[in-house]
């Protein structure tokens, strides 16, 4: 459909980046869940309780901040692009498409800012 051009799914490049970010997210998500939610040690394999102290300890390392910011960028790109793919295929009225596309872009920007201000300037108090 010619009317879909410009606001479409991004074609072949979009598909490629969705696969690429998906590939990177598999080890990233597994590592994220493992590091934040489980403890391996004495006594045994446990589900962890999240506390400010535990997160603060990790974020005191600039390396972890970088990892988390990269993870944030990957997951926002993949998630919101996936949602846009769905909307792109289901919504056909042009004005509604533009409205929803704007919502996705604004939501993405808001989440990127919210995530970044949480991670980047963090100092334990």
């Amino acid at each position: 459909m010619s009317t879909d051009r410009g606001l479409g799914s991004g074609g072949l490049m979009g598909w490629f980046f969705q696969r690429l970010t998906g590939l990177l997210l598999i080890p990233a998500v597994l590592a994220h869940v493992w590091v934040t939610h489980y403890v391996l040690g004495d006594p045994g394999f446990q589900a962890n309780e999240i506390s400010y102290q535990a997160v603060a300890e990790r974020l005191s390392n600039p390396f972890w901040k970088l990892i988390d910011l990269g993870f944030l960028a990957l997951v926002l790109f993949h998630g919101l692009r996936g949602v846009w793919n769905w909307l792109d295929e289901s919504v056909h009225r042009p004005w509604f498409r533009i409205a929803l596309f704007s919502v996705v872009v604004v939501l993405g920007a808001a989440l990127a800012v919210l995530g970044t201000v949480t991670i980047l300037p963090f100092r334990a108090s």
């Binding site: 696969r19 998906g22 590939l23 997210l25 598999i26 998500v29 597994l30 869940v33 939610h37 489980y38 403890v39 004495d42 006594p43 045994g44 394999f45 446990q46 589900a47 962890n48 309780e49 999240i50 506390s51 400010y52 102290q53 997160v55 603060a56 944030l72 997951v75 926002l76 998630g79 919101l80 996936g82 949602v83 769905w86 939501l107 989440l111 919210l114 995530g115 201000v117 949480t118 963090f122 108090s125």
Partner: protein
């Protein structure tokens, strides 16, 4: 156009549903973790609230949803970037089996921490 319920279509449909669900969770997750900026008391208060059994069960559901999406993603990468598969049905069931193994591995300790009232007792159970 009529859709037929063959495996590829069901896998695609579940991929879309789980993807939308995960993105919805992501919005809440970023908002919840943002409480880190409000200091230790505010953050730990939110975390304590989320330690209730209901949310633990929700986390187990989330784990299943994420693992399905990841396993199906591996399947797609095999088919599209890995040179295809001679038997696509068999590939589907192999990645699902891997997902189920990881699900059991991950869900077990969450389930115990939800009903034993804390993670410290789990070690005694699993030792």
């Amino acid at each position: 156009m009529r859709y037929r319920w063959h495996l590829g279509y069901v896998a695609w449909l579940l991929n879309r549903i789980t993807g939308i669900a995960i993105t919805g969770y992501l919005v809440l997750h970023i908002w919840v973790i943002h409480h880190l900026t409000k200091g230790p008391e505010a953050f730990n208060q939110v975390m304590d609230f989320l330690q209730q059994p209901l949310f633990k069960l929700g986390e187990i559901g989330l784990l299943g949803i994420v693992l399905y999406h990841a396993a199906n993603g591996v399947r797609l990468l095999f088919i599209e970037w890995g040179g295809g598969a001679r038997n696509q049905k068999r590939l589907f069931w192999w990645v699902m089996a891997a997902g189920v193994v990881l699900f059991i591995f991950g869900a077990y300790p969450i389930l115990f921490s939800a009903f034993e009232g804390g993670s410290h007792q789990l070690g005694e159970v699993m030792r």
